[in-house]
């Protein structure tokens, strides 16, 4: 019977004083690392509730003399959070819908239908993993400006993010690997019963894939919510900016807001991803275990 929950250091080791002391020191170090990681995030909040006088105190106070919420009222009244929040929701929803549709169908085909030449197509997708995203910003910009064969100008529009959303090699690969684990017999049985490919896809494959779809959804949400550089380059109309771009452009760079107001805006912007993380932790950990990649 192995000791439950043990790793390197076992119960027996801990009976030795030297090991116990070393273990204690290591644990203290770990606590220090955890605090050093958490405190900067807490610092955003602490700074946001300092008064406009206290925020400019040299050296800074570690804890606010009193909690001053006026920065929240100030930033909320002068910066239209709800509008930009709405923008981000639309932005993310479009990416999610299109990417899910494109990659689930592609992964289904690669894993179960396997039309002749599917290996070659798979290779084409895989090789795309080597193409770094933002390093290609210039040609992508030129393509979005005048979409070949269509002539559409997608700049300053969310379509510039929605249309390319399906070109995600990593997520296709992830889904295909998951679909590979679903027995072919299940699919064949449905086909013999006369189900079309589309029906098998909707009624058998997708319901069985809920956990992996949840993981993908979280990664898509976090990625899109946090995305800054590319939306900043592509979206030029202020009213259309997603929240992160707007916070940079209209809060951080504006002279209207003091430091505590800026910190209040950031506190508000950080909350949704953190809440999503806490609520859906299980799926994130599962995604990491499945892929060996963080988000």
């Amino acid at each position: 019977m192995a000791e439950k929950g043990r790793a390197l250091v076992g119960k027996l080791d801990l009976k030795r004083p030297m090991v116990r002391a070393g273990y204690l020191i290591m644990m203290i170090l770990l606590v220090v690392v955890a605090l050093a990681t958490l405190f900067p995030l807490l610092w955003v909040f602490i700074s946001s509730v300092k008064s406009s006088v206290e925020i400019f105190q040299v050296p800074p106070s570690i804890w606010p003399q009193e909690f001053n919420w006026s920065s929240y009222a100030n930033v909320w009244s002068k910066f239209n959070f709800l509008h930009y929040f709405g923008n981000t929701v639309v932005f993310i929803l479009g990416i999610w819908i299109i990417q899910m549709l494109v990659i689930t169908l592609a992964a289904y085909s690669l894993s179960k239908l396997k039309p002749p030449g599917h290996q070659l197509i798979m290779f084409g997708f895989l090789a795309a993993l080597m193409v770094p995203g933002l390093a290609m910003m210039v040609p992508k910009y030129v393509i979005l400006q005048d979409l070949p064969l269509f002539g559409w100008n997608l700049l300053d529009s969310y379509w510039a993010f929605w249309l390319p959303a399906g070109a995600n090699a990593f997520n296709i690969l992830l889904l295909k690997t998951f679909f590979d684990g679903i027995p072919d017999d299940l699919i064949d049985a449905a086909t013999i019963d006369g189900a079309t490919e589309m029906r098998t896809f909707w009624q058998i494959l997708l319901p069985l894939s809920k956990p992996i779809l949840a993981t993908l959804t979280i990664f898509i949400f976090l990625g899109a919510w946090n995305n800054f550089m590319w939306p900043y380059i592509v979206i030029s109309t202020t009213e259309k900016q997603p929240l992160m771009v707007a916070i940079y452009d209209s809060v951080f760079k504006s002279a209207v807001f003091a430091q505590n107001d800026i910190m209040a805006a950031i506190t508000i912007a950080i909350i949704p991803p953190i809440v999503v993380f806490f609520v859906l932790q299980k799926y994130i950990t599962q995604g990491i275990t499945l892929t060996g990649i963080k988000g």
């Binding site: 690669l110 239908l113 770094p132 040609p139 060996g292 988000g295």
Partner: protein, 297 residues
């Protein structure tokens, strides 16, 4: 009757093939438009003079000549190299150690897991603005902490000596937890019996660490080594928000320079030439990454 079934099978088979292609079509079109064509276009535009209106003319290797004559371009690559070395020095072993320590925790493991992972989910805009505030020489928290230990205050981002290491510090803070969680996932796959058996055989803690824990992490560590280099070569948003590449180009990164050529100097040709060079270097690194990952799997 048999013929009927055969015919039905044939048509099922043909339909399956047709549907197979049909389902792949949206993905293939997406990749053609937004992955493969951009690569081809980078190559073409590198040899062209392109203005924002889209007019083009062939200019041979003039764009590359412009790049190599620009001292900032060399500086950006030197910075990338320095950034990589610093971040490997500070940040490569940290996640390994943290993962091993978290794995040793007997209770409250979730607290540590969550704490170190949290910065990973914070948006880069928020992280950049926060750290700009932490780095502030007089109003910032970091110099206050240095003061507690009687250490001299630093100019952080404001001096060209400390600006790049400062960015590395921030990048390490925001990235190490995510990597630690990946290592942790690997460590939790080690059965308890394995450690138990080694202990019974008389292996000490260090021997167990060396012979069980480290071999478990080694393949992932190799992959993460390349991943970290790939990541640091593509740093963009943080210096864009925090320093604009300064002071004195100390934090100029390759992507920031490409951005500047494209959108400040409006020279898409030179920007493409720089992208092409970066693309080549990154592809070689990614290729190594895949070789390693295949060996790890």
């Amino acid at each position: 009757m048999v013929e009927d079934i055969k015919a039905a099978n044939m048509s099922t088979h043909a339909r399956k093939k047709l549907m197979g292609y049909l389902f792949l079509l949206p993905a293939v079109v997406s990749f053609l438009y937004f992955v493969w064509y951009p690569v081809v276009l980078t190559f073409i535009m590198s040899f062209q003079s392109v203005n924002l209106a889209g007019a083009t003319s062939f200019v041979g290797i003039a764009n590359f000549k412009t790049l190599f004559a620009d001292p900032v371009f060399a500086k950006a690559w030197a910075n990338a190299g320095q950034f990589t070395i610093f971040s490997l020095l500070i940040g490569y072993l940290l996640p390994v150690v943290v993962a091993i320590l978290i794995n040793e925790v007997r209770f409250g493991q979730a607290f540590f897991r969550i704490s170190v992972y949290l910065p990973t989910v914070a948006p880069s805009v928020a992280v950049s603005i926060l750290w700009l505030w932490l780095f502030d020489p007089s109003l910032g928290l970091l110099n206050k902490i240095l003061g507690w230990f009687n250490l001299p205050a630093s100019q952080w981002l404001l001096s060209s000596q400390s600006a790049l290491p400062s960015l590395v510090l921030m990048a390490t803070w925001s990235g190490f937890g995510g990597t630690a969680i990946i290592y942790l996932a690997g460590l939790q796959g080690v059965p308890e019996e394995l450690y138990e058996a080694a202990e019974i055989d008389g292996a000490g803690i260090w021997q167990r660490a060396w012979n069980i824990t480290i071999p478990q992490l080694k393949p992932v560590m190799m992959v993460m080594f390349i991943m970290q280099i790939l990541g640091t070569m593509q740093v963009f948003a943080e210096p864009f928000i925090m320093t604009g590449g300064g002071p004195n180009n100390a934090t100029m990164t390759i992507l920031l320079l490409i951005y500047r050529y494209a959108y400040t100097y409006m020279d898409m040709g030179v920007a493409s030439a720089a992208s092409l060079l970066l693309f080549i270097v990154l592809s070689i690194l990614s290729f190594i990454y895949f070789k390693l990952e295949n060996r790890a799997a």
